[in-house]
Subunit: 146 residues, 2 copies
DNA sequence: CGCAATCATATTGTGCACAATTAAAAGAGG
DNA sequence: CCTCTTTTAATTGTGCACAATATGATTGCG
């Protein structure tokens, strides 16, 4: 039963655990900052996707940007709708689709969270070059895994 | 409302989304591989922690290694217990504590997942040096965020 | 046209994450 | 001893993630 017979199964020796733990740590930090305006982290990501679009997005389009399916997005969007930050309506030209876009309040919220990325980066302990490098490695990882 | 007025709020321009998306992509890949033996990814992580220990761990000790609290770990460990892979018992010397350790079947499971890390790395599209670098950056990030 | 196949979203069920609360046990001081 | 505080898990409640399924709308094809 000696653990040293399976060095590849040590928690920190592979990539999975550091990635999982770092992701949760960042999410927790975001939750602290976003709690001030009443947003969760996935709700914030959904708004980032909607803010970046020049027109209303369908649930499927937003899901493609976030790699999230309707089972996750539908309740997130309904909570954002309930809070008054997004509107949801069936596309009159294709009743299968639901068009989502920020409300006026949702657009205004963007200003209130504009400083969140900078505040987060300040606590990360990495310089700009390292952040860029980390992002590139993560993007390649995500692309490779489909 | 021009999106270009908030470049720091673009999905891919900050670190949070690539990290979040990459972590979910890796978890999905693990789920594929671990589904063969009937494990979820958090269950696998809990077993990694227990396999590395030379003696039974308390819930708190395992939680410290995984950065997970009892609200998450207790149901995970109960499901592992229900599947016959770990045992849970109160510490006779301190009845507040619950001692957790793999059963014989739980130890045997280690051999069946021994090739999972290698199989995962093969689909990542990164060479060994890049994996080491990525892990180091993630560890520093996690340390900095507490 | 009729209708089977496809598509877009919603719903259901399971399993995390995590904050907040509860409850029981152990230690500390008087 | 006997409370008061601390420690340790479990429980409760909310909100994701995601697979599987259901529902309804659209498209193609004969």
């Amino acid at each position: 039963m000696a653990p040293e017979r399976y060095p590849q199964l040590e928690l920190d020796s592979q990539l999975c655990f550091p990635l999982y733990a770092a992701s949760r740590a960042v999410t927790r930090r975001y939750a602290d900052l976003l709690g001030e305006v009443g947003l969760t982290y996935p709700q914030y990501l959904a708004l980032l996707g909607l803010w970046s679009a020049s027109a209303p997005l369908t649930v499927g389009e937003l899901g493609a940007r976030l790699s999230l399916d309707s089972g996750t997005l539908t309740p997130v969007l309904k909570r954002l709708e309930g809070a008054g930050w997004v509107s949801r309506r069936r596309d009159p030209e294709d009743e299968r689709r639901v068009l989502v876009e920020p409300t006026a309040e949702g657009w205004a919220l963007r200003e209130r969270v504009a400083d969140v990325p900078q505040r987060l980066v300040e606590g990360m302990g990495l310089d700009v070059a390292e952040l860029v490098q980390l992002r590139q490695l993560l993007d390649r990882l995500r692309t490779a895994l489909g």
